[in-house]
């Protein structure tokens, strides 16, 4: 018997999922999260789930974990004090921040500029210079390096980032500075830009390197404490952390490159969505994860999530591979308001947060939120399954009534329907970003909905996008933990090439890619993944010479066996993609900007669960008769307990399906079919 443990730490709950690989049997535990030290909640959950399964901790072979420690450090501004070393003349690279001001024509008037992640008083410059081709223009002045680093002593530096101009072309000066820094600032962890992101563009590389240092101490503390506690608690298996790109990394590697973990949380959701979609028989899907304050959407093709080259957390955008999720700043807690001047209905970006939360939560909130609108419409029944939570309908009606009054609508229901329509439209904007705007037709995809509020809005978004079926997996928290438990080991190596096709041969390219693969493969081998179990994938970023944006193109490993034609094949592939995205081609030479190799371990063999067969009639799960407001009127709608539904049961809309931490709305004219693997599949009825 072999057990894998998936662990997902959310803001409120920590979900732990134990999977017995052979049978696919799962056990689940939900415990309160412990924000002060997340490891405590994780250990509680692990203890609980193992007790339930009747196994010893020592029987757990692997603990797989998606963590938001790095993300939270950035969002809460509680990362390390980072010292930064730059090339002389470039000390203000983060202060100037590419001179970019967001917003429209007068946007600068109201833009609050965020402070640099490494403060300017903690940034020093050293005398040295490397040219863009790697040639040394000025040797590193080591005495100057020592003198500059001395200045940082006494500033309370907890991490050091080194980012020199053109270091992507030659890392020697950065490496030497690291050696000197180890003497001058002993014990301070060092991030080198040539390690973290050996790519052209000094601002992005510096920022990413500083971000790595910024989150590193917290990630290190957390991962080490968790690993230690697991060992002390008797868990024999190793700890692996989910990376932003959906692969797993050893605890040690995670500590070295914490900037690769910034989207560890959402990556768990996407990999979990892939798992449930596959069980339900779908390979192309759009993920829709709607929470309290924001919503993440992503696209998966052929069971492979789209990977983006940028990671965005709050105001911060770093260059690091991650599942390409786009965030819409609206969720269940978003507040609706009506500006006096234009009397338009706006939803968000302000959010009621967890405290006071929506008016319906009865914790003192009075602002109308999306959740309140759902309560007014009856989409969220007041007594949810088990009766654990009750919602204050009158408070919700009063809050939403303010919107009705400001807009001159005749009922809270009309305003509530408007709020839900507007927030759905915001979501649609996000879904379009990952689909239509990338040249994908959403009608070719299924929509997998999760997060606290996703299943409530999913049917409506299916209607807006034409993405069917809408798949609602069982238990939104479980989904991330499931993703953690069902993904594979991965590492990546990358470098800037920056050469036109005419300036290199197929052999050159093959050699570069194979070197990168060897590099990533070696790191995985050190983590115990045998070479025989490694699968290599290659990708290069290509553009027309002179363009500012690249298109990533996958390179089939077999192409490298025919080096004479590899560039031609690559060019054709790029042209096809450019044509698909923008409907035109150019005749100028192609250029390779970056090359990457990704090495992946085998996918764990986890068997799916199977629900008992039902007879198609969900009557046994009906818990109450209810009415909901939809299409301008109240209609009767049954409320069903998801736990009692059987495989093959069909719940016809209008209906509501409730479970412990989620509510699914099935609209009139639609039906939700219970799949044997546990998901609800919502489709329009003919």
């Amino acid at each position: 018997m072999s057990y894998r443990l998936g662990v997902d730490v959310g803001g409120t709950f920590t979900d732990v999922l134990l999977v017995e690989e052979g049978s696919g049997s799962t056990w689940r535990a939900k415990t309160a999260s412990t924000p002060a030290d997340q490891a405590v909640g994780v250990l509680n959950g692990i203890g609980k789930v193992c007790a339930e399964a009747g196994i010893e901790l020592a029987e757990v072979a692997q603990v797989l974990h998606g963590t938001t420690v790095a993300t939270n450090a950035i969002l809460e501004g509680k990362g390390a004090t980072v010292g930064l070393v730059t090339t002389k003349g470039f000390r203000q690279v983060l202060q100037i921040a590419r001179s970019f001001v967001p917003g429209g024509l007068a946007g600068w008037i109201i833009w609050p500029k965020p402070e640099p992640l490494a403060a300017l008083e903690n940034t020093v410059e050293v005398d040295e210079r490397i040219a863009s081709d790697g040639a040394v223009v000025r040797e590193l002045d080591e005495a100057d390096v020592r003198a500059q680093l001395e200045k940082l002593r006494g500033n309370g530096i907890e991490a050091l980032a080194v980012s020199l101009i053109n270091s992507f072309a030659d890392p020697a000066h950065e490496r030497r500075i690291a050696e000197i820094a180890a003497e001058v600032l002993p014990g301070v962890p060092i991030s080198l830009s040539s390690d973290v992101l050996p790519e052209l563009r000094e601002y992005e590389r510096t920022l990413t390197t500083v971000a790595n240092g910024y989150v590193q101490p917290q990630v290190k503390r957390y991962v080490q404490s968790l690993a230690g506690n697991l060992a002390d608690g008797g868990v024999a298996g190793e700890l692996a952390i989910l990376r932003s790109d959906g692969g797993l990394s050893s605890a040690g590697n995670a500590i070295d490159s914490p900037v690769t973990l910034l989207l560890s949380g959402p990556a768990g959701g996407v990999t979990g969505a892939v798992w449930v979609a596959e069980q339900a028989g779908y390979r192309d899907l759009i993920t829709f994860d709607m929470g309290g304050t924001s919503t993440d959407v992503g696209l998966v093709q052929g069971l492979t999530p789209k990977i983006g080259r940028e990671t965005k957390v709050g105001d911060l955008v770093v260059r690091s591979s991650s599942v390409d999720v786009r965030t819409v700043g609206a969720g269940g807690g978003s507040i609706a308001h009506v500006p006096e001047l234009t009397r338009a209905l706006r939803v968000g970006p302000q959010s009621a947060g967890a405290d006071p939360g929506p008016a319906a939560y009865g914790k003192g909130g009075t602002e109308p939120t999306v959740t309140d609108a759902n309560v007014v419409l009856g989409h969220l029944p007041t007594t949810l399954a088990g009766g654990e939570i009750t919602l204050d309908v009158e408070a919700a009606r009063a809050a939403v009534g303010k919107v009705a009054e400001a807009m001159g609508l005749d009922s809270p229901e009309a305003a509530a329907a408007g709020i839900v329509d507007i927030v759905n439209e915001n979501m649609l904007g996000g879904l379009r970003l990952v689909s239509v705007q990338q040249g994908f037709d959403p009608r070719d995809f299924a929509l997998v909905a999760f997060g606290g509020a996703g299943p409530l809005h999913a049917n409506a978004l299916g209607k807006l996008t034409g993405a069917w079926p809408v798949i609602v997996p069982p238990g939104p928290g479980l989904l991330c933990a499931l993703g953690d438990a069902t993904t594979s080991r991965r590492d990546e190596s990358a470098r800037t090439v920056l050469r036109r096709f005419g300036e290199l041969t197929g052999e050159d390219l093959a050699a570069i890619l194979r070197d990168l693969a060897a590099d990533a493969g070696r790191r995985l081998a050190e983590q115990g993944l045998a070479a025989a179990d490694q699968t290599v994938g290659y990708q290069v970023d290509v553009r027309y010479h002179g363009q500012g944006f690249e298109i990533p193109v996958d390179v089939d490993p077999s192409w490298l066996d025919a080096p004479d034609s590899v560039l031609a094949t690559l060019g054709k592939r790029f042209d096809a993609e450019h044509d698909r995205l923008f409907s035109f081609l150019l005749t100028v030479d192609h250029e390779i900007v970056n090359a990457r190799a990704t090495v992946t371990g085998p996918k764990p063999d986890v068997a799916p669960v199977t629900l008992p067969e039902g007879d198609g009639d969900p009557a046994g799960a009906l818990v109450q008769d209810h009415r909901i407001y939809v299409g301008g009127e109240y209609v009767p709608a049954g409320v069903y307990d998801r736990a009692k539904l059987r495989a093959g049961d069909v719940v016809r809309g209008p209906a509501i399906v409730t479970e412990m931490d989620s509510t699914t709305l099935v609209l009139p004219g639609h039906a939700a079919t219970v799949h044997a693997a546990g998901s609800l599949l919502i489709t329009p009825e003919a």
């Binding site: 970019f100 300017l120 338009a344 923008f582």
Partner: protein, 623 residues
């Protein structure tokens, strides 16, 4: 006058649109507009658009009124000046400001206009213009600083049909591209503009399908009405009936020895309407700095200031235009007569920000910012590689410089940033990889931001070392007049440019020059100006001043302008600070001026050569 051919007959029923559908369409239009940017950025080749995002999209209603966008291009004026038929599949192109009522303002901007057809009728227009890095003419990048007529400014494309029913007019395009130095760039950028406009057209057609054409068009009317109603309320709230407000700012010179040019704008509200009047501005310039502005653009600038602060999420559009009357004197800086040269109008466009800020801020404290980085100064470098594997190959760089955002009601002005939305600098590593140059220094200059309770942003010093012989060109301003401060804040520092030659000599360059030869090893310092300060600098927290000294953004000496004494270790000397502040308060008038423009023009001119190293320009006069 254009004739539009529609195959559909009958009329579209318009009607009431429920408020939620209206907001849905508003959202859809906003998404489509940003998608236009995205398509162009990703496909453009020329650095001006690709890295610096010098482009402006819009979507209009069937009458050509902008319903979303940020630069109200005048489609009605464009159609007036276009003599031909327009049908489904057509794509129109122009670069002639004089033929489209100044919908664009110099020949480097190529404007693409696409009629949006749905079921055989026009349901709107999409349009976008972008700055081409080169359009031919006598100097690389096509912006000769000594041009006296538009004929010296490269190819000027009259409005014509680039695609007829989807078919590209290859011959015309070949003739145009034969005039320019980097045809690949223009072709790619033009393709990007067309692709962006077509994307918008697709999105609009999708909305017509989803909501019904009648509902969609009614929603546009309602969105325009929404701006009208909002503006009507704002106008009566902000401006006193019958009171005339005026403000004057300057362009320092015209590139051929004249200046400074007075830019005067006055505003009077009568009833529901306001009147914007440029009377009192200087006559058109001999040199290429004229900013040919049209009435609608003036309304757009005015409106965006008024409304951005009131409802930042509003879908910005032309709906309020009937509430604003505009007077622009013929033959003035703002309405020069053909064939006046126009290429260097970037200073005028930028200065409009300062002008409106100074005008509207007088009765609207939330809009009263100091003077900021109100231009987009250009730097060009071009030539042929003299050796190596690229020997003989032509290189051509066009880039924009950035400077100090002014002190604002909400806080300090960012250092070395852009006043223009979404502009970004070109990374040093990119420049060094693609051009024969190295950058020795790229930082903001301490003390160049105007002191104030909210400090003005610092200007920037970029030092370029050239590695190949070639020529450079510069378009900048604010080297003579000061970026003014407000509410007791002081002006920021002026900009300056100089070359340190490889042979050790140093020469100051005019703020506008072209075809200046450079040799390997020469170093150009491109120093931009700082933003003005906002509020009384003696009220600024001394600890913050000291922190900025430690950060290198203010010097110890500069801290004294805030009345703050900073000790050698970078901490505040509290006692000395108090004494200094008391002294400074005693030495100044009790009432601080709203505007601090720096010394009067006569004084600036008298001390010009001594302070700037450049001869004083000659003041322009109306004849």
């Amino acid at each position: 006058m254009a004739r539009i051919i529609e195959t559909a007959t009958g009329t579209i029923e318009k009607g009431e649109v429920d408020p939620v559908t209206l907001d849905l369409i508003e959202n859809g239009l906003r998404n489509a507009r940003y998608e236009m940017d995205e398509v162009l950025f990703r496909t453009a080749l020329s650095p001006g658009i690709r890295e610096q995002h010098d482009e402006f999209p819009l979507i209009a209603d069937p009458d050509g009124k902008m319903v979303v966008g940020q630069f109200g291009l005048s489609i009605p004026d464009f159609l007036d000046g276009f003599d031909g038929t327009i049908e489904e599949g057509d794509v129109l192109l122009t670069s002639d400001p004089y033929a489209c009522g100044a919908a664009i303002s110099h020949a480097n901007d190529w404007l693409v206009v696409v009629p949006i057809f749905h079921e055989g009728r026009v349901v709107g227009w999409s349009a976008m213009f972008g700055h081409m890095s080169d359009v031919g003419g006598k100097t690389p990048s096509s912006m000769p600083t000594d041009a006296l007529t538009i004929y010296e400014e490269g190819v000027v494309i009259p409005p014509f049909t680039l695609y007829k029913k989807g078919e590209l007019n290859e011959d015309a395009l070949r003739i145009i591209l034969n005039q320019v130095r980097k045809p690949d760039w223009n072709r790619a950028d033009l393709n990007g503009l067309v692709a962006a406009c077509r994307t918008a057209a697709r999105r609009v057609a999708e909305m017509c399908d989803r909501f019904g054409t009648g509902t969609y068009l009614s929603a546009l009317d309602a969105l325009l009405q929404r701006n009208y109603d909002a503006m009507k309320v704002l106008l009566s709230m902000v401006f006193e009936e019958g009171r005339t407000l005026s403000f004057t700012d300057y362009i320092c010179d015209d590139g051929v020895g004249n200046g400074p040019y007075e830019l005067k704008l006055s505003l009077t509200r009568t009833g529901d309407k306001v009147h914007l009047d440029f009377t009192g501005s200087s006559p058109q310039a001999a040199g290429p700095i004229n900013y040919y502005i049209n009435e609608n653009l003036t309304r757009m600038f005015f409106g965006i200031y008024m409304i951005t602060v009131a409802d930042p999420q509003i879908l910005w559009n032309d709906g309020f235009y009937p509430l604003v009357d505009v007077t622009i004197p013929d033959g003035s800086y703002w309405k020069p007569e053909h064939p006046a040269s126009l290429n260097g109008r970037n200073h005028g466009i930028g200065r409009v920000f300062d002008l409106f800020g100074g005008l509207l801020g007088q009765t609207n404290p939330a809009l009263l910012n100091a003077a900021g980085f109100s231009s987009s100064p250009h730097f060009m470098y071009s030539g042929h590689y003299s050796s190596g594997e690229r020997k003989g190959e032509w290189f051509q760089l066009y880039s924009i410089g950035f400077g100090g955002i002014p002190g604002r009601p909400m806080g300090d002005g960012p250092d070395g940033h852009s006043l223009w939305p979404s502009f970004t600098n070109i990374p040093c590593e990119y420049l060094e990889s693609y051009y024969p140059l190295r950058i020795e220094k790229w930082e903001t200059i301490a003390d160049t931001g105007g002191p104030g309770l909210h400090r003005g942003g610092n200007g920037v010093d970029v030092a370029y070392i050239f590695e190949e012989p070639g020529t450079i060109a510069i378009h900048d301003d604010r080297w003579l007049t000061y970026p003014w401060g407000v509410n007791g804040g002081h002006p920021g520092a002026r900009g300056t440019k100089w070359i340190e030659r490889a042979d050790g000599t140093r020469s100051v360059l005019p703020s506008k020059c072209h075809d200046v030869p450079v040799r390997p090893g020469d170093v150009l310092h491109f120093v931009t100006w700082g933003g003005g300060g906002w509020g009384d600098p003696l009220e600024r927290d001394p600890e913050l001043v000291a922190l900025e000294v430690r950060r290198g953004l203010v010097t110890t000496k500069g801290a004294e302008r805030y009345g703050v004494c900073v000790a050698e270790d970078g901490t505040v000397d509290a006692e000395a600070t108090e004494t200094l502040r008391d002294q400074m308060r005693a030495d100044r008038p009790a009432e601080l001026p709203v505007f601090d423009m720096g010394p009067p023009i006569e004084e600036l001119l008298a001390r010009c050569e001594e302070e700037t190293g450049l001869p004083a320009p000659k003041r322009p006069v109306w004849v």
